[in-house]
């Protein structure tokens, strides 16, 4: 029994190393859409959710995980994990159901009972009132039972180790590990907000308005799931459970050893290129030194968008071409730009984990690093 649980913990620790964890999350993103009609069946979905819950209960028997999971700050994160799983399933289930109904020519779920008129008062207000009372009661109980995780008075000489942002910002904090603070702290968050606000203006496709569907909007759904569930939710989980002292990676069941010191000699692209590959010194002038990085960035942001609709295999080119014609050039290229900016985060993460790349372009002389 003991041995079996240790093996399981070891396996989970291995899965939760950044690379496999991230690969699994990306695979899930595609698999959940491709095999939507299989896994959303309530029997299968609830078995999986039950297994997930049992795994959580099992994890609580581990003292290291227990101390993370029961910290006042982290309880909402655990609740959030279960809620995102449930609501993701709910959306998928309704989408699959609607797709099936559409194929059979039956009305959508949302169209059922449309002829019955229900008044806001008392039907809606009443429900909202009851929910409001329950939420208030829950918050009162919560604030009494769960202590605020207060620490000693702040001191400029002693930064808590690890020093974690509020839980909803852990995704941003993870981003700060890979990018310059100016990029990860100002440019990227602004682009996230602007990008989310731009969605209704970029997306003219009327399909999916007012009803759930998977088949008609599979690209938008997997794209959104990647941005939200992987790049936001999963990063919050990663920041909570897998980041320990000195901001090193730890498995969920690892002891948080302050003296764990993995070798992380990060190198800039210029150093990788000139010193490691060409075996010569760095050029004096920054423009010469960073030319390769600047060229790659320019290609990524300005040449790649033009190539998307020319990919010759798997009908990818055709797909993007159709999209460009339907959306119009301005909308399409804005979308591609936002898409590429979003993808720069996972690309940079993987490069950091695999080849210890620090910055593609590093010009500390002018406080410009990407």
């Amino acid at each position: 029994m003991e041995a079996a649980s240790d093996t399981l913990k070891m396996i989970i620790n291995k899965i939760c190393e950044p690379e496999p964890f991230f690969i699994l999350m990306v695979l899930w993103c595609f698999a959940s859409v491709i095999w939507a009609d299989k896994w959303v069946k309530p029997k299968i979905a609830f078995t999986m959710m039950g297994a997930f819950f049992l795994l959580y209960l099992f994890s609580l028997t581990d003292s290291n995980f227990y101390s993370i999971a029961t910290k006042g700050d982290n309880i909402p994160i655990i609740a959030m994990l279960f809620m995102s799983v449930y609501f993701t399933w709910l959306g998928f289930w309704r989408g699959v159901e609607n797709d099936k109904r559409k194929a059979e020519g039956r009305p959508m779920i949302e169209e059922e009972g449309k002829e019955v008129k229900v008044l806001v008062w008392p039907h809606l207000i009443y429900i909202e009132f009851i929910v409001g009372i329950f939420c208030t009661a829950l918050l009162v109980v919560w604030s009494i039972v769960i202590m605020a995780p207060l620490e000693e008075p702040a001191s400029s000489a002693a930064t808590p180790n690890p020093s974690k942002a509020p839980w909803y910002f852990l995704g941003l904090q993870e981003m700060l590990v890979y990018f310059d603070p100016w990029m990860a702290g100002v440019v990227a968050p602004s682009l996230i907000i602007v990008g989310l606000m731009a969605i209704p203006y970029l997306d003219k496709n009327p399909k999916g308005n007012g009803y759930y569907t998977i088949k008609e909007r599979w690209f938008a759904i997997s794209f959104f799931n990647f941005g939200y569930l992987v790049l936001w939710m999963a990063l919050i989980f990663l920041g909570t459970v897998m980041r320990g002292p000195n901001w090193n990676f730890f498995g969920p069941f690892d002891y948080w050893d302050v003296h764990k010191q993995p070798v992380l000699n990060n190198l800039n692209l210029s150093e990788l290129f000139f010193i490691k590959t060409l075996d010569m010194g760095l050029p004096e002038h920054w423009l010469k030194r960073e030319a390769l990085g600047i060229a790659l960035t320019v290609i990524y942001l300005f040449v790649l968008p033009v190539l998307f609709d020319k990919v010759p295999f798997f009908k990818i080119g055709e797909f993007f071409k159709k999209m460009r014609i339907e959306m119009g050039a301005v909308r399409y290229y804005t979308f591609i730009f936002l898409f590429l900016t979003m993808m720069s985060l996972p690309i940079k993460m993987v490069l950091r984990w695999t080849v210890n790349l620090k910055y593609v372009v590093a010009i500390p002389e002018y406080f410009f690093n990407i």
């Binding site: 000489a157 930064t159 590990v177 603070p181 901001w247 090193n248 990060n266």
Partner: protein, 179 residues
């Protein structure tokens, strides 16, 4: 002009009748008062930016005598109060800022691993202040360091030396003294 405005306001107040002109004048006066009040509030706020007393440690401080330091060790005595690490190496002394160049947290000196490590995003620095781990884009800053008249080490935080600008070569950034 001002006289005429006041005369018309006065006239309206005495007679009790409100003409278009007096209404506009009253309105103008009201807005003027409002603006003045807001301006005064802003000025009062601005006044808070210059406090009468500053409870901050001075920018320059004496960091003890050179023979108190051990070669190859980072002295963390001045970290809490002044935010400075004084390092003694074979050829002399230098003073490092305790502010991480990534986002401004305070790193810890890990003597067993001979590095400064930031707990916020994992930036790491060698004992010299050169960055080698994590996202920090540039080395820790150094402060002006010299000998005071009484033979103590004098660190002046008002003068900063940045390695990436080649300022560490400056004579004031380093206090040469053989061990």
């Amino acid at each position: 002009m001002a006289f005429r405005v006041f005369r018309s306001i006065n006239k309206a107040a005495l007679s009790g009748e409100v003409t278009r002109r007096s209404f506009v004048n009253w309105l103008g006066l009201g807005w003027l008062m409002f603006t003045a009040a807001m301006g005064a509030c802003t000025a009062a706020m601005g006044r808070f930016m210059m406090p009468n007393v500053l409870f901050e440690p001075p920018m320059a401080f004496k960091a003890g005598f050179p023979d108190e330091y051990q070669e190859g060790k980072v002295d963390i005595r001045w970290k809490a109060k002044y935010g400075v690490w004084v390092v003694r190496e074979k050829g002399g002394f230098y003073a490092l800022s305790t502010v991480c160049t990534h986002l401004g947290c305070t790193p810890n000196w890990l003597s067993a691993d001979s590095k400064f490590k930031c707990p916020c995003h994992g930036s790491g620095f060698y004992i010299t202040g050169i960055h080698f781990e994590g996202p920090a884009p540039r080395p820790l800053e150094r402060y002006k360091i010299s000998l005071a008249d009484d033979g103590q080490i004098l660190v002046d935080k008002s003068k900063i030396f940045q390695q990436e600008k080649g300022q560490w070569e400056d004579a004031e950034a380093y206090l040469p003294m053989s061990a």
